[in-house]
């Protein structure tokens, strides 16, 4: 992730115009998302309801908007922001453009937690699925840390232990799944990611954790650029690289674990969005972290709109859309970026 020698290195590091533009994008996409669904609602009335004006939606139509479409769009935005930002941070911390939020075993750990909740016969555990997957994700990352021992003296060893812990958790998960074949479909649909369960309670607690994590990450984003240098150079800039890495990974893991426990494993957002934003804005620095968060939010809100409408009145797993739309789009940006930098 080196600075490429074109004008991007010289352009202002943080651009309020781009941030404002991505805010506007998110707002526009969110309005679009809540305007579509199996029940047609008047666009004017939607706006009036949102801004608390008279003449808005009433009765069941109001419930549809306020209790179904709005929490779902908000959850999509939160999850998208969490995954995109965590991905960008992991890419910096590990100095690896392929790093994604699930790198340290968070996805496999969450998958194992969810499978335990689903395969347990009792009704009680089934309702605790979000908590189980949250704990699973955090535990997997912690174990990866402890096994690699020296924390960040060797980022690659942490990366490898993350992969090993992830494979181990996946193996246990597959075993449980095979022993409880009736759980196959719920586990499978959880793995593909789903926002169908969105309600205000889930939105509230995911918002708390994700916003705390994002605030920490955006606050340290200026220093994160120091991690792209060697550790000696970072120290000379007054940055303690190891402490910074631990803070960044903890915050990114909190965001990822929350996102995963609220919505399952939605892939590709964590890799595509950071590169997309860097590709379009020609900014490789982490000062664009807020922009990455906003674009990640917009991307997932839009993907969820597709998930709800393409097969209506049925649902399409959102993970299918993020990869189906994200991958080709990403390739186009990648190609253009290469043409620019050559």
């Amino acid at each position: 992730m080196k600075l490429k020698g074109n004008e991007s290195a010289l352009s202002p590091i943080w651009n309020w115009k781009i941030t404002a533009l991505s805010f506007a994008l998110l707002f526009f996409v969110a309005i679009l998302a809540i305007s579509f669904g199996p029940v047609p609602l008047s666009f004017q009335k939607i706006l009036r309801t949102l801004f608390g004006l008279s003449g808005g939606l009433t009765g069941q139509e109001r419930t549809l908007l306020i209790d179904l479409r709005l929490p779902r769009a908000l959850l999509a935005a939160l999850v998208g922001a969490a995954l995109a930002t965590s991905g960008a941070v992991y890419q910096t911390v590990f100095r690896n453009p392929l790093a994604d939020p699930y790198l340290l075993g968070a996805a496999a750990g969450a998958g194992l937690g969810a499978t335990i909740a689903i395969t347990s016969a009792g009704a009680d555990l089934y309702n605790l699925l979000p908590i189980f997957s949250f704990i699973g994700a955090i535990l997997a990352v912690l174990v990866s840390f402890f096994i690699s021992g020296k924390f960040f003296a060797e980022p690659n060893s942490l990366l490898l232990s993350g992969i090993a812990v992830g494979s181990f958790a996946t193996a246990v998960q597959t075993y449980l799944q095979q022993r409880n074949s009736s759980s196959l479909r719920p586990v499978y649909s959880w793995i593909l990611g789903e926002l169908t369960v969105a309600n205000w309670q889930i939105v509230t607690w995911s918002a708390i954790y994700i916003l705390i994590a994002l605030t920490i990450l955006v606050t340290v984003s200026k220093q994160l650029d120091g991690l792209m240098l060697t550790d000696d150079e970072a120290y000379s800039l007054g940055i303690n690289p190891n402490r910074l890495r631990v803070i960044a990974v903890i915050a990114a893991t909190l965001a990822t674990a929350t996102a995963v426990s609220a919505s399952g494993l939605i892939g590709f957002v964590g890799i595509v969005v950071p590169h997309l934003v860097r590709g379009i804005t020609h900014r490789v620095t982490n000062r664009g972290l807020l922009t990455i968060a906003l674009v990640g939010a917009s991307f997932l809100v839009l993907a969820d709109l597709g998930a709800r409408t393409l097969l209506s009145p049925a649902e399409l797993p959102i993970g299918v859309i993020t990869a189906f739309v994200g991958a080709p789009f990403f390739l186009v940006v990648l190609r253009k970026k290469r043409l620019v930098t050559q």
């Binding site: 029940v39 479409r69 089934y126 074949s181 169908t196 709800r308 097969l311 049925a314 399409l316």
Partner: protein, 289 residues
């Protein structure tokens, strides 16, 4: 992807091991009536015991929990293990066609001179009857199978006579709380259709060729079903939890208290208890007009 590769590599190793044991296999293929049957299908297990083949059954898979005197084992119906099966020295194995590598396992077992009855998930009632009588022929219980079929036909006819609605009533069949459902193309969907109930999942039929689409909450509220059948009652769903879902408290089935918890297992088995399921539906919708 890796999982599958290692899985099939393991299975190939297993098969070759099994084949090398060929000469040691019991050679009682001359005997037409099987005496050591393994059932790897909960539905077939129920049928075998109902038609009078229970005494010939030596082992059933880990999900065959009915009847309670069936010799339940750790054998997996979903992912059968040839060597584990051989351990029981069976002479007939009932194998579900949907099991992992069902055809390969059938070939391997047949090379070991073990008869295999490949059971396919039926998609309508007459297929169920065909399968029961086929199981009767395969196990030497033709008369028993015929009795079961006659009995089922009588019960189902009576259930439909008392329960079939003159006018269509809309319903939603809930598989889980993420709103997976079953259309009229599925076996269970056809049962409801026989009672002249209108399935709100049918407009979503194109979403899944197997007939199990995931519906949107908003669509369900709009469709406003008059009956809700809960296949996930065993996971804690009830009219109480349904009423708490956003916007659901105005759905007709909930305001009129027409939420019906389905019994465990029975709706997903195409054995003799299918007739009991018809009777259950008839009774539970009797008062709904």
């Amino acid at each position: 992807m890796f999982k599958n590769q290692t899985g099939s590599a393991f299975r190939i190793a297993l098969l070759s091991l099994a084949l090398s044991l060929l000469s040691f296999a019991p050679a009682d293929a001359a005997n037409p009536t099987p005496k050591r049957i393994i059932s790897l299908s909960p539905s077939a297990t129920e049928t075998l015991f109902a038609i009078g083949a229970g005494a010939q059954v030596i082992a059933v898979d880990d999900l065959s929990n009915f009847p309670t005197n069936a010799p339940i084992t750790q054998l997996s119906a979903f992912n059968p293990n040839v060597e584990a099966l051989l351990n029981y020295k069976p002479d007939l194995i009932i194998l579900n066609a949907d099991a992992t590598k069902a055809l390969d396992i059938k070939t391997a077992l047949e090379k070991l001179r073990i008869k295999v009855f490949l059971e396919r998930a039926p998609d309508n009632l007459s297929r169920v009857y065909q399968e029961i009588s086929a199981l009767g022929r395969a196990t030497g219980n033709v008369a028993g199978a015929q009795n079961v079929i006659t009995d089922m036909k009588t019960k189902i006819k009576a259930a439909l006579k008392s329960g079939r609605k003159a006018r269509k009533i809309s319903f939603f069949h809930e598989l889980d709380n993420t709103l997976y459902s079953a259309t009229s193309d599925t076996f269970i969907g056809k049962v409801y259709k026989d009672f002249n109930l209108a399935n709100i999942a049918d407009p979503a039929a194109s979403a899944d060729s197997a007939g199990y689409p995931q519906l949107q909450s908003e669509y369900l509220i709009k469709a406003n079903p008059r009956i809700i059948f809960l296949a996930d009652a065993q996971y804690g769903e009830s009219i109480k939890t349904l009423a708490k879902r956003p916007g659901w408290n105005k759905v007709s089935a909930i305001t009129k208290k027409n939420v019906i918890a389905l019994p465990e297992d029975i709706p997903s088995r195409w054995g003799p208890r299918l007739a009991d399921f018809y009777q259950f539906i008839a009774t539970s919708i009797a008062k709904i007009a």
